[in-house]
């Protein structure tokens, strides 16, 4: 791209460093020498995308080989997007300022449903034809992966290939295969047929859904007989064997998380019934404490970061957590680096750790009971009791914490107003604990309530979401109940949650809604200031989509679900069994205390299964 033009644009926008590239540790290569050029697209702003560790991991792994040049591209903010359209400047990669349409492959990571319009915007700004079937041979191949690819159908019209599951091995393999195919002069269609049977590869063009009269899916018709009936996710058996980056890219501008990060383990054994991550990342695969410490040390050396954090679904579930935390604390102290440990289970050891690392600056303590009564917590299998919370709060108050944050979900299956009362009760009990402690001073309990969005590949995948009216009634109800001193009440917008729910379990017809929403100008829908429910309503009308069909409709057990095409390696029968147990208010143990039969061990070794038996 012309330098003068870019400079002129950058002088007119907010935070121009979002678009300059050139950060520390980026890959500098001669694009001519790479066999394949890949744009890693994150469909949200730079500050969000650069805080996502998956990008750093894949960027590092892809750029290790000279055959691949992986560059980055993010959603431009509205001011930049508008200027680019006005000045006819195509969306470009940060590393070499190459227009997206001139890349070989453009890939998007699907981290949350509300970023989907960003994908269409980025393709359009990048000069790439939106619909996969209309895209020319000379245009890039468009691929996608990440958790939302486990229900790929709403994006099926726009994406050539979805890569399901762990990407560290599958993504470089796939890209090199494509490089080889093009060198041999194969067409895109020929290439797609050649990889259709590879693990983790889902090519939507090889399948055509047929619908029943009531709008549900009748079946999937295969258009290419060698395409698999079900696409099995890619799974790395031992994450010790895959490379983890120590040379993280260090952004110039402040991002959401500006810190060194080491992934301690992947997966979770707790089995919360609403949680998709807890299902699709099974089994738990840990890194060794020595590896983690070494990675942390190298990252700090290579980045100059002043903060270190650990990444997993539940920090203190790491099997050798005490040993690891103690070691890291010493290391950080010595190096003047602050340690941040998210999602700790608040037992006495964790308290000592927290007290040590937050000596002067005590941030709030966070609990996620998710539901207000023991009954409902049993339904969702959230293994936390009120005594756990109160015991921890008592200790926290003693140690000087003054801010408690509580996370709940509303609209969960079987929920009644009694469960909402329970939320208020927990908040008021915590306030009372502080009063009784006689410690006085400022004290605040923040209650944050999100709206339940049923997700694919979970025991609750058949459940109905609450209607908008019901969500609003519950918000009002809670607002009245939580009007108490020292309590702050926050809740999520119900329109956003409904929109999220459409795409979380949507079928291929939702692509039309997405396209209409894009045309209406919907962008950055995860941002409250950009989400526009009126535009979405208009888009739904134009697309002829009855949103209730996707949100507040209970699916029957024998319904063909849009995501049945994807095999997440956890048994459908396990989800059914878990759902029945939910209705019976019956809990399922953490599988470290004994296998619960989810079926993942048919595919791989379950190293943590039953270790505490």
């Amino acid at each position: 791209m012309e330098k003068d033009k870019l400079n002129s644009l950058l002088r007119q926008v907010e935070k121009p460093a979002r678009y300059t590239g050139g950060e520390l540790n980026i890959a500098v290569k001669d694009p001519e020498k790479a066999r394949i050029r890949f744009a890693f697209g994150f469909p949200d702003l730079y500050e969000i995308g650069m805080s996502y560790m998956g990008l750093q991991i894949l960027y590092h792994i892809l750029n290790k080989t000279d055959d691949i040049y992986c560059e980055r591209v993010f959603s431009p903010a509205p001011d930049m997007a508008e200027l680019m359209r006005k000045e006819d400047v195509p969306l470009f990669t940060l590393e070499t300022k190459t227009a997206l349409r001139d890349m070989d492959v453009v890939g998007f990571t699907l981290q949350y449903e509300m970023s989907f319009t960003g994908i269409l915007d980025m393709l359009d700004l990048g000069g790439i034809t939106l619909f996969a079937k209309e895209r020319g041979e000379d245009e890039p191949l468009v691929i996608a992966g990440g958790p939302c690819a486990y229900n790929p159908e709403p994006l099926a019209d726009f994406i050539d290939v979805f890569l399901i599951g762990d990407g560290e091995e599958s993504l470089p393999d796939f890209l090199l295969k494509y490089a080889g195919a093009r060198e041999k002069g194969m067409t895109k269609a020929e290439f797609l047929r050649s990889v259709a049977a590879d693990t983790g590869v889902y090519v939507p063009a090889f399948y055509e859904p047929e619908y029943n009269e009531d709008g549900t899916i009748k079946s999937y018709r295969k258009l290419y007989d060698k395409a698999p009936d079900k696409v099995e996710r890619c799974l790395i058996d031992d994450i010790e064997n895959v490379d983890f980056p120590t040379d993280l890219i260090v952004p110039f501008i402040e991002t959401v998380h500006d810190r060194a990060v080491v992934e301690t383990f992947r997966g979770c054994t707790r089995g919360c019934r609403f949680c998709q991550a807890g299902m699709i990342y099974r089994p738990v695969r840990e890194r060794k404490p020595e590896t983690i410490r070494e990675l942390a040390e190298k990252q700090i050396m290579s980045t100059g970061h002043e903060e270190l954090s650990l990444l997993s679904l539940s920090t203190s579930d790491y099997s050798r957590f005490e040993e690891l935390a103690t070691g890291l604390m010493e290391e950080c102290m010595e190096k003047n680096v602050s340690l941040s440990l998210p999602s700790l289970r608040l037992d006495s050891f964790s308290f000592n750790v927290l007290n040590e690392i937050q000596k002067y600056k005590k941030s709030g303590l966070t609990f996620a009971p998710e539901a207000g009564t023991q009954r409902l917590r049993d339904v969702i299998n959230k293994g936390i009791t009120e005594e756990d919370i109160y015991g921890a709060v008592r200790q926290a108050i003693e140690l000087g914490w003054r801010q408690i944050k509580l996370y709940f979900m509303i609209g969960l299956p079987t929920e009644t107003d009694e469960d909402l009362d329970g939320i208020a009760e927990i908040a008021s009990n915590i306030v009372r604990l502080h009063r009784e402690s006689g410690r006085g001073g400022r004290f605040n309990v923040t209650v944050s309530v999100s709206n339940f969005v049923p997700k694919a590949h979970t025991p609750f995948q058949w459940e109905s979401q609450d209607t908008a009216a019901e969500f609003r009634r519950k918000h009002d109800y809670l607002r009245t109940r939580l009007k108490m001193k020292n309590v702050t009440f926050n809740y999520h917008d119900d329109e956003v949650s409904r929109c999220e729910a459409i795409f979380a379990r949507g079928d291929r017809r939702c692509g039309k809604l997405l396209y209409e929403a894009f045309k209406e100008g919907c962008r950055l829908d995860g941002w409250a200031e950009h989400f526009d429910p009126e535009k979405w309503a208009k888009a739904a009308e134009k697309a002829g989509i009855d949103t209730d069909f996707y949100t507040c409709r209970k699916r029957s057990a024998d319904e063909v679900l849009p995501w049945d095409i994807i095999d997440c390696s956890v048994l459908r029968s396990y989800f059914e069994k878990e759902r029945e147990k939910a209705y019976g208010e019956e809990t399922t143990r953490d599988c470290r205390y004994g296998c619960t039969g989810c079926g993942i061990n048919r595919r791989t070794k379950c190293a943590m299964g039953g270790i505490y038996e």
């Binding site: 002129s8 950058l10 007119q12 460093a17 050139g22 520390l24 260090v250 100059g304 002043e306």
Partner: protein, 225 residues
Amino acid sequence: MNRYAMEFSKTGMIRYTSHLDMLRLFKRTLRKTGVPLAYSQGFNPHPKLGFAQPLSLGYEAKSDYIEFETVTPVDTSELLTKTAAAMPEGITVSRCVPVLDNVKSLAAMVVSAEYTITVPEALYSGRDPGEFTTAFLAQDEIVVKKRRKKDKKLVETDIKGKIEALKLSGDRSLYLRAHCGSASNLSPDLVIDALIRFSDADVKKYDFDVSRDRLIFSGEWEDDF
């Protein structure tokens, strides 16, 4: 007290990195070199370092300075080499020198600065660039609208007294020397505003390019020993 100053240039795309982000960049980079930076006392200690003069977002710099303190004396040439190796493209550190003990901070000693302003050709609207520049300077007063800090109101102000020199330095570039620093400061942005106003041509502020070429201090601060 071990005071040092490092001279650096900032060119290319990194010019879109703001003053505060530059501070973070230097902080991280110096940490990486292992230099024993002196920290402030208190609950939230931070390293003692600061730029001689902030630089506006989008400007290049040819010779800016960052000043810092260390707990023990350091080998400046070794530190310079390490810092140079750890800097991203666009930041070139050229010198690291000790600062005299008994002087004020560099920031307090900056009085003026020299700039190169690259202007769009259209600015001259066909007039001779030299004649244009002379006529511009010959105005009795050079009035621009400036946002007042205290109430954010746009007020007219005469900047002529703060311009020490302005002359043609190339077909499309001007040399500007102007007040800079805490006592009296003139942003080249305002000079650009005035140029646009004087010219009446349809040029936009973002068609101009600014480089700060030199900072001028009120006294000697380099420790030669």
